[in-house]
C-alpha cells in the first residue's frame, strides 16, 4: 500500500535564524525533497543607490560600509576606485598598500564568518563559530586601532585612506599575524578533514562551471566550480600587482569545495598581508583633494574589486555636480543568489540551509 502525499509549501524566513539576514525563500517540498524554490527579496531595501545620489562623493563612503557589513573595507575600496577613475586620480603608493592590507584583513574576517556559519548550519553549534570569531575579533580590534570603528569603518577615501596608521598598529599587526598562524591551523585541523563535514557536504549541491558562468556567479562560488577567475589577478587594482598570491580553485563546485576555497583564500590573504607589511614604505597616504569633489559632466566610471563574496562594482555617472548623478551597485551576493534553484532543486531539506550558507550571501548587499 502506498501512502498518498502531496507537496507542501514552506516559507523559510524572512526572520529565520539560519537565513543570513532577512531572506525569505518559498520552498515546495515533496516529502523531504525540494521541488520548487522561489527566493523573495527586498526586505532590507534601503535605497542606497538613491541615497548616494543625494550625497557628495566622500559622504557616500559611509553608505558603502552598510552594504556588505561583513566586509566594509572592501566596499569602501570598490567605491573609492570608482571615484578615482571618475576623477582620474591615483592614490600614493602607501595609500594603495594600506588599502590592500585592510581589504585582505577584511577578507579574512569575512571568510571566517562564512566558514563559521557554514559549519554552524551543518549542526555544529557554537564551537567552530567561536574559533573563527576569536580570530575575527582580533582583526576588528586592528580596525578599531586603524580607524576608530570595528564594522562601519569608513576608512578609505577617494585618493587614498583617511589617515596613516597609528604607531601601535604595526606591532599589533605583527602579533596578530603570529598568533593567527596557530589559530588558523587549529581551525583547519578541526574542519578541513572532519569526517562528518565531508560526508555532509561532499557532492551536495554541485554547481557545474558552465551554469556558474551563465549565471554570472563570481567569487569563491565561481572558483569552487573550477573556474580560475579573480579580479585581483585579472585586472589588478591598488597594490595587488605588487604582491604574489595563488588563486585556489575547486573541482566539483559542491558545498565542500566552496568551503575549501574559502579556507584556502584565508591562507592566501595572510600571504598578501605579510607581503604588504614587508613592502610598505613611509610616505603620504592620501592625495590632497578638495573636501567636495566634482567630476566632469558626463563622466562615467566602473570600479570593481574582488570582494569576499565576488565581484563588487560601483558604476558612477556624473553630471558635473557634487554628487553622483547615478550610482549603480553590482553586488555579488545578489547575482550569486540567482543560482539558488540550481543548488536546491532535488536536494533534501537538511541540505537546503547548508547550500545557502555555502554561497555566503549577505542581505545588506542583496537588497542594498
Amino acid at each position: 500500500m502506498t501512502i498518498r502525499t502531496e507537496p507542501m509549501t514552506v516559507n523559510v524566513g524572512p526572520q529565520h535564524p539560519s537565513t543570513h539576514g532577512v531572506f525569505r525563500v518559498r520552498i515546495t517540498f515533496d516529502g523531504e525533497d525540494i521541488v520548487e524554490v522561489e527566493p523573495v527579496l527586498g526586505y532590507l531595501h534601503r535605497g542606497s543607490e538613491k541615497l548616494a545620489e543625494e550625497r557628495n562623493y566622500v559622504q557616500v563612503v559611509t553608505l558603502t560600509d552598510r552594504l556588505d557589513y561583513t566586509s566594509s573595507m572592501i566596499n569602501n575600496q570598490a567605491y573609492c576606485l570608482a571615484v578615482e577613475q571618475l576623477l582620474g586620480i591615483e592614490p600614493p603608493p602607501r595609500g594603495k598598500y594600506l588599502r590592500t592590507l585592510a581589504a585582505e584583513l577584511q577578507r579574512i574576517a569575512s571568510h571566517l564568518i562564512a566558514v563559521g556559519f557554514f559549519v554552524q548550519e551543518l549542526g555544529a553549534f557554537g564551537t567552530p563559530l567561536m574559533y573563527t570569531f576569536r580570530s575575527r575579533e582580533r582583526i576588528l580590534d586592528l580596525f578599531e586601532m586603524l580607524c576608530g570603528a570595528r564594522v562601519t569603518v569608513s576608512y578609505m577615501r577617494p585618493g587614498g585612506v583617511f589617515a596613516d596608521t597609528p604607531a601601535d598598529f604595526w606591532p599589533a599587526l605583527e602579533q596578530f599575524l603570529e598568533d593567527f598562524e596557530g589559530e588558523l591551523e587549529e581551525i583547519e585541523n578541526l574542519l578541513l578533514s572532519n569526517e562528518i563535514l565531508m560526508v555532509r557536504t561532499r557532492g551536495v549541491s554541485p554547481l557545474p562551471a558552465d551554469v556558474a558562468i551563465n549565471c554570472s556567479v563570481s567569487g569563491p562560488v565561481l572558483r569552487a566550480s573550477g573556474v580560475n577567475w579573480d579580479w585581483r589577478k585579472m585586472a589588478p587594482y591598488d597594490a595587488y600587482d605588487q604582491v604574489e598570491f595563488d588563486i585556489p580553485v575547486g573541482q566539483n563546485g559542491d558545498n565542500y569545495d566552496r568551503f575549501w576555497v574559502r579556507m584556502q583564500e584565508v591562507r592566501q590573504s595572510l600571504r598578501i598581508v605579510r607581503q604588504c607589511v614587508a613592502q610598505i614604505e613611509p610616505g603620504p597616504v592620501r592625495q590632497e583633494l578638495p573636501l567636495v569633489l566634482r567630476a566632469a559632466p558626463g563622466a562615467e566610471a566602473y570600479g570593481r574589486v574582488e570582494a569576499s563574496k565576488g565581484e563588487l562594482g560601483f558604476f558612477l555617472v556624473s553630471d558635473g555636480g557634487v554628487s553622483p548623478y547615478r550610482c549603480k551597485i553590482r553586488s555579488p551576493s545578489l547575482i550569486n543568489l540567482t543560482i539558488t534553484e540550481h543548488l536546491l532543486l532535488g536536494w533534501k531539506l537538511a541540505d537546503m540551509i547548508v547550500s545557502l550558507g555555502s554561497v555566503d550571501i549577505n542581505m545588506g548587499e542583496v537588497d542594498r
Binding site: R55, P92, E144, M145, G148, T152, P166, G283
Partner: protein, 187 residues
C-alpha cells in the same frame, strides 16, 4: 580520547577570552569614534562646515554676527549647536571637515537615555562636557601618547595642530613626496 582530553585540559587552563562587561572593560583604542562629541567653543568660528559635511545633516548650527567688533573680523556668536545623536552613525566626517580643530569625536559608547530629546546634544552640554577628544583624524594628539578618557582632559590650546612639531613633520613629508624643496622653514 586521551588526546581529546589533553586539548580540553590545556584549554581549561587558559585565560578566558571574554570579559564580563560592566565590571571589566576593554581599553578602547585612542581613535575610537565615540559618542560624546568634544567641542571647543574657543576654536569654533561657526563656519558650519561640519553641519554641511555630515551625510545625515544632523548638526544644527545657528549663529549671529558678533556685535563687539565685526569689522575686525571677530567671529560669529554661536547660538545653537545641536547634534542629534539618535541618528548619528559616528562616521566622523564632521570632525574631518572642521577646519579649525574645534570638533572631535568622544570615546564613550554608553549613551542611554529615557527620552529621545535627551539624545540631542545641545550647545550647553557641549560646553560643559569634559573634554576627552578622540584622536580620530587628529594625529597631532597621537604624537603625545595621549589616551582619551585616561589622564587629564585637554584644553583648547593643546588640541590644535598649529604648534605641533608633528604638523611640520607631516608637511615636510608631503613636500618631500611631491619632490619639492624642504628647506623653507615653517614660519
Amino acid at each position: 580520547m586521551v588526546k581529546g582530553l589533553a586539548v580540553t585540559l590545556s584549554n581549561l587552563m587558559r585565560k578566558p577570552f571574554t570579559t564580563s562587561y560592566p565590571e571589566q572593560r576593554i581599553r578602547q583604542h585612542p581613535r575610537f569614534r565615540g559618542e560624546e562629541f568634544t567641542w571647543y567653543e574657543e576654536r569654533c568660528t561657526g563656519c558650519a562646515s561640519c553641519a554641511k559635511y555630515c551625510p545625515l545633516g544632523i548638526i544644527k548650527i545657528v549663529t549671529s554676527p558678533s556685535e563687539t567688533a565685526p569689522l575686525q573680523g571677530d567671529k560669529y556668536r554661536l547660538e545653537t549647536f545641536d547634534i542629534e545623536l539618535q541618528r548619528c552613525m559616528f562616521c566622523g566626517l564632521c570632525v574631518e571637515a572642521c577646519p579649525y580643530d574645534a570638533l572631535f569625536m568622544g570615546s564613550g559608547f554608553e549613551e542611554g537615555q529615557y527620552k529621545r530629546t535627551d539624545l540631542v546634544i545641545t550647545i550647553d552640554r557641549l560646553r560643559q562636557a569634559e573634554k576627552n577628544p578622540s584622536t580620530w583624524f587628529r594625529p597631532q594628539l597621537e604624537g603625545m601618547d595621549y589616551r582619551p578618557g585616561e589622564g587629564r582632559p585637554l584644553g583648547w590650546r593643546e588640541v590644535g595642530r598649529e604648534n605641533w612639531r608633528w604638523h611640520q613633520h607631516e608637511k615636510a613629508g608631503m613636500r618631500l613626496a611631491a619632490g619639492r624643496d624642504d628647506s623653507e622653514g615653517e614660519a
